[in-house]
Every structure is written in C-alpha cells, then in structure tokens.
C-alpha cells in the first residue's frame, strides 16, 4: 500500500517466478498489481546465464557447436544450422547439395517439434490438458528420427561446419515419409480441439495485442512479428540452404493478439510439412560434408584407416588450425524468430568474439509493453504466446 499525494493506492508487488510452471523456465516477472490488474511488469532475466558467448571465445569453432544446442534447446538443429552457416560464411565453405537438403529437412522437422512443444504447453497454461498429450505424441516421433540419425534426441549437434555429421538412412527416410503423410491430419485434430473452442477463443482473442508498427519497433521476429501482420520470414527474405527452391506460404495474422499467434504457428507447422514433402522428393546424391582440409572434419571411416585423415582430424580436434580473419553476421529463421551469430575472427582456431542475436530475448522485451494494464490471468496467456526459451534469452 503506498500513499501518493492524497490518494491511497493499493499496489501489490508480486514475484512471478523464477520457479513457476507458467514462466517456462527460470524467468522472474516482477509484477506491480492493483487488484487483478497488471500496472507494471518487469522481466528479470539471467537465471540461466551460462556465459555461452564468453565460453565461445575459449572453445574452437568445432567445439562451439555443442553450446548452440543448449541455447533454445527446443530447436537445437536450427541453432546448429545458424552457427554452422556463420562459420561457413567466414571460411567461405561451399556446402554440398545433399547436405543442404538434409539440413532443410532437419530444420523443418525441428520447427514442427518446437511448435508442437509450444502448442502442448501453451494449451496446458490455458487449461486444456489433452492437447498436450497429442502434441507430445507427434513430437516424440520427430525426436525418435533425430535419435536415429544422430544418437541424440534433444541436443543432436548433428549439423556441423561444412555439412552434416552422418548420412541419413533408409530407415530415417521411411519414418519421415510416414510422418509427412500423416501429420496434417494430426494438425487438424489439434485445431478441432482448440480453434473454435469457446474457452480457448475467449482466453486468447484480443489479449496482448501488438500492432504491426509496434511489433517492428520492438524488433520482434518470428511468429510474434508475423501474427501482427508483417509478412517477414528469413527463409524468404534472405534464403539459405536453398529455401528459394521450395514453395511455402508465410502465414500472417490480422490483429497481433494471442489467438493470431496461435493460428500462425499452427499454419507454420503445415507449411513446414509442405517443405518437408518437397525436400524429401529428390534428395541429391553426393557427399554430406564439404572437404576443406583442417576446417571440416574428415569422414570417420577415413580417419580410422588413413594417417593423413587422422592427422587432419587430430589437428582440428586439438584446435591446431587457422581460419580466415574477418567478421561475419549470419542469421536464420528459427522456430521462435531470428537467430543470428556475429563472429569476429582473429585468424586463430577460436572466435575472438561470438555474439548471439536471440529472438527470444527481443520478443520478451516487448512483453511489458503488450501486457500493460492486462489481468494477471491474461499475463499467462501473453507470456506463453510469445514462446520464449530461457536458455536462449539468458545464453
């Protein structure tokens, strides 16, 4: 309770998080409440800060891959890809066609997995329990596929500098085909459960509205930006990995509220499936790794049989190599928005500086603005709708 002038204001300060199931990780929101109304909302971040950028300066280009998995850990493949693209740009590496297509497949599978995770947990936030089970059922299939090719479900480190680590198998392709054929039906199921569900609509419509202008001014990217009606997608704007060869639509919203964000993400899953189907159709033959001695790892079977490859492998693994001097920035469309890597190289085997541009961080900064004056219950809906992962916010 505070007294301002002659007025007595009943303001309550409340900590939401860092241990709170709806803050999706260790985020703390410092809320100034008047009754149920959020007067002020200050996100306090840093609980998951692991110093990934600083660590990057002390690890070789090769070793840094595994840190990228742990940024937005719901989208490890895409993080790998963004980092690999930045290093490839620095070193001028041409990635073989086959690897590029495999990368697109992985990135789109990962996008679907990330959106499924979001949809399931978001519905849970709002109180719809069953959607969660359906979403995780399909996500599980994708993780199984990841495990098939990389041995890892969550942190595959599969996409690496110069290409991908292992070739895809027939078993993987078969699983992918089955997934693609059936997935749209599943999306229809989710929509049947939610899209016209009156509670769902009531809870999301007109909540946490962000106009197109504000969305741009706050620097948001990804589904948050598109839900506000801005047709911007890095896959279209600055295509990488051959995205210009695939047909897909960029879904946008009209209003920029939570409901639009929901619709945009659901449609994105369908579009990703569309890309997957095209990519799967003709995967070119050829190598999966560029052959740049002393930067890209030689194939494992060569390392085990050939002293020259063994020496190359040793030198790379031990960090005894050099990359060109220079600085690069490269960014891609991650499930949550723009993920960019800015790398300054002094010519040694470790980055001089590695800066990560995180969409989660930027999108989260817009949260106080869009939740000004809303109800506490709506805050949950708003926070969930921007889809953040603290691993990437805090880095």
């Amino acid at each position: 309770m505070t007294i301002e002038g002659n007025e007595i204001r009943r303001e309550m300060i409340l900590n939401m998080g860092p241990q709170h199931p709806a803050t999706h990780g260790v985020l703390r929101l410092l809320l100034h409440l008047e009754g149920e109304v959020v007067k002020k909302n200050i996100p306090i971040i840093g609980y998951l800060h692991r110093g990934v950028e600083k660590l990057g300066e002390h690890r070789t280009y090769l070793q840094n891959i595994v840190f990228t998995d742990r940024l937005d850990y719901t989208a490890s493949m895409c993080n790998n890809l963004s980092y690999a693209l930045a290093v490839e740009k620095l070193c001028g590496i041409e990635v073989p066609e086959r690897a590029r297509v495999i990368r697109v497949i992985m990135a789109e599978l990962q996008r679907i997995a990330a959106h499924l995770l979001w949809l399931g947990t978001y519905a849970l936030d709002i109180g719809a329990m069953s959607v969660f089970f359906y979403c995780f059922r399909e996500r599980e299939k994708i993780l199984d596929m990841f495990e098939m090719i990389s041995g890892q479900r969550l942190t595959p480190s599969y996409i690496c500098i110069g290409g991908v680590r292992r070739d895809i198998t027939d078993q993987f392709l078969e699983a992918l085909r089955v997934f693609c054929d059936t997935f749209n039906d599943y999306v229809r199921d989710y929509e049947n459960l939610l899209t016209k569900n009156p509670i769902w609509v009531e809870r999301l419509k007109d909540v946490a509205v962000l106009s197109a202008e504000d969305a741009i001014n706050w620097g948001t990217t990804g589904p948050v930006l598109r839900a506000s009606g801005v047709k911007f997608d890095f896959r279209r704007a600055t295509p990488y990995c051959g995205y210009e060869n695939y047909e897909f639509d960029i879904p946008i919203g009209t209003k920029g509220d939570c409901y639009d964000r929901y619709l945009v993400r659901v449609e994105e899953m369908r579009q990703s499936n569309r890309i997957l189907k095209q990519a799967m159709k003709d995967i070119p033959d050829g190598p999966i790794m560029a052959d740049v001695p002393f930067i890209t790892l030689p194939p494992k079977d060569q390392v085990m049989n050939n002293i020259e490859s063994l020496i190359k492998h040793f030198k790379i693994a031990a960090g005894l190599f050099q990359v060109p001097k220079g600085e690069v920035y490269s960014s891609i469309e991650n499930p949550k928005g723009e993920l960019g890597f800015y790398i300054v190289s002094d010519g040694s085997s470790k980055p001089y500086r590695m800066r990560i541009k995180s969409s989660c961080f930027v999108n989260l900064s817009a949260l106080p603005f869009m939740t000004q004056g809303c109800l506490v219950a709506d805050l949950i809906a708003a926070l969930g709708s921007i889809d953040i992962v603290l691993g990437e916010v805090d880095r």
Partner: protein
Amino acid sequence: MITVTIDGREIQTEPGKTILEVARANGIYIPTLCFLEDLLPIGACRLCIVEVDGYDQPQPSCVQVVTDGMNIRTTTEKLLEMRRDILKLLLLDHPLDCPICDKAAECKLQDLVYELGYDRAIAEGSVGVPMLHKPPVKWSTIGINYFPSRCVACQRCVHVCLERVGCGVLEAGKEDGTPRIFPAHPEKCIACGECLSVCPVGALTEAVSPLKARPWEKTKTKTVCPYCGVGCVIELNVASGQVIKVTTDEAVPPNYGTLCVKGRFGFEFINSDKRLTKPLIRQGGSFREVSWDEALNYVAKKLKEIKEKHGASAIAGLCSARCTNEDNYVFQKFMRAVIGTNNVDHCARL
C-alpha cells in the same frame, strides 16, 4: 659478396653458404624435415628441394651452396607436387598412432601435412591397408622407446649422436627393405637423450616417464638446471602443478639445446612421495611428525648442549647441491659464525 636471386628477389650474400641458410636469413621459407642448424647437412629427406637454373633436377637447398648469379625458385607447382610425393611416401607406411603418440601436436610430420595438405589431399584414398600400431623395440638405453614404424628415417638422431654428442652409437640401415635406425654400439651410449630431443616425430619417446599432457595443457618455465656447475638452461614443462618433462632452448647459452642424462631425465624426484616435506623427530625406533617450531627448538637445544660439552668442532654441517647458492651461503655462514666450526661439506657429486 655475391648476388643470388631467390624467388625473384636479388640478395647479396657471402660465398660458401647453403641456399637454405641464405633463404632463412632473408625470411624466405623452405620446408625441411631432417635439417638441424648446428649439424652438417644430412640431406636425407629432400623436402627442402628448390629449382636452380642450369640444373635439370631440383636441388636440396640444405646441401647446395650458393654461387654468384644463381637463380633459385623455392615454391613452384612442380616443387610442391614433388614435396607432396615425398610426404606421401612417408605417410604410406606410417601407423595410425597420433592419438596414442607422445609427439602428437608437436610432430613435424603432422605439421608438414598441415602445410602441404592445406589445399589438397596428399595421399587420401591411395592408402590400401591401414598401418596399425606396433610395439616399440629396444634402443641403446632403457630411457628411450623406439617405434620403428613411426620413424621417418631422417637420420637426425644418427648425426646428432655422432657430431654433437660424439658417441656414434647409432647407424642407419634397413630391415625388410624399410629404412630404420639401429643402435649398433649400445656400449658407447651415455643415455643423454639427445637423439630423443631431435627426433621430429614420435619414433623416439621417453620410456621412464611417458607423456602425461598434450602441449596445449602445459606451460614451459625457463630455469637453470640444478645439477652441476655448467648451469644449462632448461625448460620445465608443467601440467597440473607437476613437472612432466624437461626440454631446453636451442638459442640460449651455455648448452644451446643440449642436455645430459641428469638434466633431461632427472626430474621425477620433484613429485616423489618419498621426499621429506615436514620435519620429523626420531623417538625410539620411529619418527614423529612435529611442527617447525618444535623441530627448530629441539635442534637448537641439542646443538647448544653438544657445543658446551664437546666444543664446536664436534659439530659438522652437511648441506646439499640441490639447494640454491643463497641457501648454501647462509648455511656455511651459520656453521662458521654461529656454531664456530669449519666442518662444512656437501654432496657436490650428484
């Protein structure tokens, strides 16, 4: 003064020098494998070949002496191709040992692969049967392991033993058609480890104290060898707080890169658990660990008693060559000025 042209650069130099010397003095890089600065040219590896006008064949630059008006090219496509071929022959029967090889990351062969294989493969694909690890064979001293399969037959060890050490223990020969080194006169070996220190690859490695850390895990600290009065410069290779190896610096007097058996191998005592690190007092048949205060008081008391009873010359002081000069100075001063005796000695025979 004569004038030679290297890679289009005119260079004034004294007659009688080799092409390699002139090139290095002028900052022109030529790869080498067997060349050692203070020895006569060995001429075994042929990696240092250059093209010289007037010769049909490329010439080894570490052997060929410059003459007036010579026109030399050090890096042409043909030379690079030939160097790659030479390297390829070395790689063909080299075992897949890097991960378990003591020399890895400081290995000249690895460096040459890095250098010459940077933009294209040297022998990739052309290797039939992978060469597997073979155990070491006997060398002229137990302190050193010899892995013939890793040997690149550069003969540095042979020549250093003959010219620098003056022992002539080693001989180059062949076994089943493959060149290797034979410790032909082991009785002459003084176990100095010079051969070990010049081996560019992991063919000769330390047997008593095998490698415990890779180069990037260790730091080198320059210091003076504590053994004899020559005072050689040594570098202590330290990893996780332990000395794991002793090397030296070729550019620094008095030893210019050489060491003897004690300086090179005699460092394990530093981390020995048999060393005394705390004062002990003998009581009955066993020792009791005591504090420094108690120990010093005890010694002072006893010394005083002896001096009063039997005189100062009943006491003698024995110190150690392993202590610093300053420590030894203070010690003898203490014996003479405080105790009052000239009975001072130490073990200068390590």
